[in-house]
Amino acid sequence: MKHLLSASDLSRDDAVLVLDTAKQLAAATAQGVGKLPPLRGRTVVNLFYEDSTRTRISFEAAAKRLSADVINFSAKGSSVSKGESLKDTALTLEAMGADAVVIRHPSSGAPHRLATAGWISGGVVNAGDGTHEHPTQALLDAYTLRAHLRNGEGDLQGAKVAIVGDVLHSRVARSNAQLLQTLGASVRLVAPPTLMPFGVDTWGCEVSYDLDDSLNDVDAVMMLRVQRERMNAAYFPTAHEYSSRYGLNATRMNKMPSHAIVMHPGPMNRGMEISADVADSSRSVIVEQVANGVSVRMAVLYLILGGTEMS
């Protein structure tokens, strides 16, 4: 694995390898091993063009636990905010000897461009690009699902996951729709028609506009964050109407099978797409997702940087 740009880069076996690797790394953490050595002497740059403290900290912790040197390069207060182009920033990072760049960027495809334009020689990890993808989020979601539904082994063959909310603008939904299917799960996308992407019928997912009808046969429900700015763009009439039609509350949660779990990539809008009692319920694995994020990102960095450059 040279880069991780899209969930579609991963075959079923690749994805299972990431999850298995993450599992071993999580076990090492649980056994009290502080730092692992495999990325000693490697430099990982966190290049964040959007504020996302939680994702950046997760990658930073992951890289440091593998003994990499970490450079945080955030857009605010740097040459980036003074209008430096992505290319010039990339050339700087290359000169600094970055072995891998973890990039979060508001423009879809920016990680792909960074990986393929010839500006840098190192690996690129997509930490979220525009409304395109967020593959490590999908991997940590798959890890969490596997831990709960498949005892932490193998793939997700036969599992059924509903992804609910702003699918149109969600990189989490795009990556999960691909990865979960790669792992053998079936995916049902639930959203108002205005928040379904054009061509969603080609994604291999079931599409529903009705949340109440979408809950009784699922193993997990993944709620997506609804950005406040969507509310003024006529995607739905009011926050109240959205919440009453597509929000997950206790009444709806009780329609789910008893083993089914509730997920959210965070940060949550409590009271909007998810009610507080659901977010804090025993079926919510949201805090666990955060913890799994570090192990999964360790696995990705290890698989990209832990061997030879050619693979």
Partner: protein, 426 residues
Amino acid sequence: MTTYVIKDVAILGGAESDIKIADGVIAAIGSGLTGDVVVNGKGCVALPGLVDLHTHLREPGREDAETVLSGSQAAAMGGFTSVHAMANTNPVADTAGVVEQVWRLGQQVNLVDVRPVGAVTVGLEGTALAELGAMAESAAAVRVFSDDGKCVHDSVMMRRALEYVKAFDGVVAQHAQEPRLTEGAQMNEGVISGKLGLTGWPAVAEEAIIARDVLLAEHVGSRLHVCHLSTAGSVDIIRWAKARGINVTAEVTPHHLYFTDDVVETYNPVFKVNPPLRTRADVEAVRAGLADGTIDIVATDHAPHPAEDKDCEWAAAAFGMTGLESALAIVNDTMVKPGLLTWAQVADRMSIAPAHIGRVLDQGQPLEVGSPAHIVVFNPNIDIEVDPTRTVSASRNTPYAGYVLPGKVVATFYRGRPTVLDGALA
């Protein structure tokens, strides 16, 4: 004065013949002709010099991207003898002063007829009509008016413009793009945009404007030209309008004949263009439309950009691609080789019809004795790999980099004088 003979060339793809050029006109057509300079036309076709109705020369304002000189050279290399310089310069070509400046630059360079296009509205802002009459009466004698790059989206403004230009036989060339439906748009709205997470530019945003405009043109009895038509629905609307007798013409670009939107999966901004590259069905429809005459002409929408505006992430990149130097090879590849157009029809779509729409006198004339000697000699049987570093345009944003294209312009004659000989600037 030097005389030229093009030997053994297939005129409009027909029988081989010699063409003798003297004193700026075609002096003789026949066999065994002699002259001071001989061009070997064996295996080549001769067409009347190409006329581009849609060229961005960038001067004044963005001379780092292109100048009238470099753009004229690129045009000559592509076989063009006339180009229409779009109005979205800086300052905008919305006054007689600016259009005359561009026109004079073209005269000085003297490689092609540079016909300035006048802006429809002041500053392309869509709120006040530019001085269309003054531009028409200027030395530049503007006949084509366009806010290209932006759509004249206000219905009243479009109606008035269509009506007003009738006074001097002008035409409004519309960049059909409904602005609200295309806010932030990055590529064709379709399966690929959904997958790539790029904001979509739906076909309906083009078709809705074209539908409105043909009805307006019918209502006020005016002449309308539709720029860079790109969708199957647009072809249907134009076909319907023409059947109704509406005075509308339409153009398609080489890149909309060639590419589909799946190339965007590379996220390489060289493929970022407005209107965007469309689906396979759209490409098939515009080819068919060009073949059956629904679409009147091919126009390049040559849009040079400096490297930094393309060597970046997709969203930050400028829209547009160069096209003058590759246009004829693309038309050969997409239309002639598949049997959709004959060379005589290519002469119509790329010279005769655009000259007529633009009211370019003495261009787009038949290749016969006495015609002004605007001639392109094109070898359709050479495969050339496009190397952007070897283009003549000042910009390198050709989308065909690394593609092998069929055909090469061997010679271009402009007013009886070679601008290109042996495939290089003369």
